[in-house]
Amino acid sequence: MEVRLNNKTKAALSAIAVALFLIFVFLGDKFIPAGSTWKMLITVIEKGSIYALVAASMNLLNGFTGLFSLGQAGFMLIGAYSYAIFTIPAGSHEKVYQYFDGGIIKWSLVEILEGKIGILGHYIGMFIPMLGAGLFVAVIAYLIGIPVLRLKSDYLAIATLGFAEIIRAFFQWNTLGPVTNGSNVLRKYTTYGNAVFPVLIGGISIALILLLINSTYGRAFKAIRDDEIAAEAMGINLFKHKEISFVISSFFAGISGALLAMFQTTINATPFNTVMTYEILLIVVIGGIGSITGSVIGAFLFTAASEWWLRGLDSGRWLGISSSLMRPGFRKVVFAVLIMLIVLFYAQGIMGSKEFSWDRFLTWWKRLPSNLKAWPERHRAKSEARKEARAVKAAAKAKAKEAKADNEARKASGKALFTPLPMSDHVIVFEKEGK
């Protein structure tokens, strides 16, 4: 029953799947009317891709390099601003930067290039600030990494969280207003026309992360994650490799920040706070720490649940049930409870540390009918096993209680609690053993 395809077939299957998906998104965004419920699906795919990218970048750090970093929201923020600032059309500057005399930068890269080489220039003009945003974030991350990456696990978490907050304060600082618009909203910058754009950029970026993880550098990252001391003893320069992972992860966080800016059409530094980082982390956990596939699935589930499926919980009617409990905010409570349940009882997440593979998928698909048929039987067996385990546990508990009572009795009567080992066990034999 095990399916094993050769590499060519796999590549072809992947190419077909990706192409079909992209065409679906493209056409979906174009033709589904704005009011339709199915439009939600496209929105979820759009936002999901962006979150998938940032979750994958966080997983590269947390799941593959073992660096518990909580700075992702800060890096997204830099990315979002870096993109937005250079693509606000010249005509809109007065309005956007109304408190700062139209700002310092009075041009838009998109407009300049579009004027020179037409529609191609439009896209290049979007692409350059986006890439630039990633690179700029990478440089900042490199500098932050120099002090921070020498810290141990939880100190690293808190220091990166701290840097993210510093970054946020910086972007809200009124003195920088002519560039960042201070604490006001940035808007009117160029965004993409079709949902296929973030899906494509996100997809390519995630593919690059996967290629990195499966390279010799990825192996070195995993070694650091599993055992720093042993990794160092194998000649892996800890600092250098942590820095590489941190910089690359931040680069992609920056790209996803730029995409998020485009998705939202307006940005402000306030929501890029710790809660945002927590949400990204929870996506990684839902998907499985150490699985990029998991991060992608987690991101789509997270956005679908929060933007679409659980919407009804906020408006009083969900799946036909109505209740006065369901008022704004209820959705997020249910959501948080679900996440806690996953964290506590399903700690490995959806994928654990496994990645998607056609072989595994097709095998699973083929076995599905028989597995479904066997399910009631397995369920019964499982519950029986559980019952047995419970009985054993209870017996052990009773025994322990008895032993404790016995010990107490012994203690009271002054008897020794245990018998010491015979001394002869400690003697070391120096003689060479004959063969």
Binding site: L208, L211, L212, S215, T216, Y217, R219, A220, K222, A223, R225, D226, D227, I229, A230, A231, E232, A233, M234, G235, I236, N237, L238, I244, I248, G290, S353, V427, I428, V429, F430, K432, E433
Partner: protein, 283 residues
Amino acid sequence: MMDNREVVLRLSDITMQFGGVVAVDNLNLEVHKNEIVGLIGPNGAGKTTAFNCITGVYEPTNGAVEINGKVVIENHPQGKMKDAYKGRNNGKYTKAITMLPDKVTKLGVARTFQNIRLFKGMSVLENVMVAMHMNQTESVFGATFRSKKARMEEKAMKEEALELLKKVDLYENRDDLATSLPYGKQRHLEIARALATHPSILLLDEPAAGMNPQESDDLMRFIGRIRDEFDLSILMIEHHMQVIMGICEHIYVLNYGGQIADGTPAEIQANPAVIEAYLGGDE
């Protein structure tokens, strides 16, 4: 007896003091080319600490480590330690040369650990390939975009790793998770992983710990074999006297951090100080 082979590893007056505790006290030790040297002593005698001083995990408080005739680590009591120093030879060393563990490994000193430290999430093959990472030259971009050089290096790495696994009888287990191996094989894998860094000196920290007589017998032969096959000099810590006396050419004995004896196995077995350290003196 004079040994006229060249000295590949020399520890001079290595002293390691933690706070007020002198864990290693004035250790002088030499390992000659292709020699197997044992380092023994009761628990807490400072053997593993000595290893950590050689490999750069700890900075020794005083003394120097010489690898292949070049001083790579040297230190002397500084700062607060100046007054708190309890060891000897204060003032003999003046330089402060430190080296991170990965640099020491690059110089050709590989080690294993007392409590096995394999990479848990990786297969046997990957565990060995990780150790070859430091010798590859492709940049992270080349590796990500699968440049021709990266593909060639990866291929060579894999071939060499498989070759190595064959030599240590782990070829059949190459795709298993490292931690799923039985204990004895995990020890072998740790040694294989160390060998993958192309060392000239191998430090083994209790390779026979937890093994039965049959297994440690096999291990003894295995160590001898890799010494010849990979042209190694070996320094090993071990508690199994059988193993130590069976393969070591020279033995150093530590007790309470201090060096109480050194010599050939026969000399050590006859040394009253050693026997006293192990069995306790009559009081």
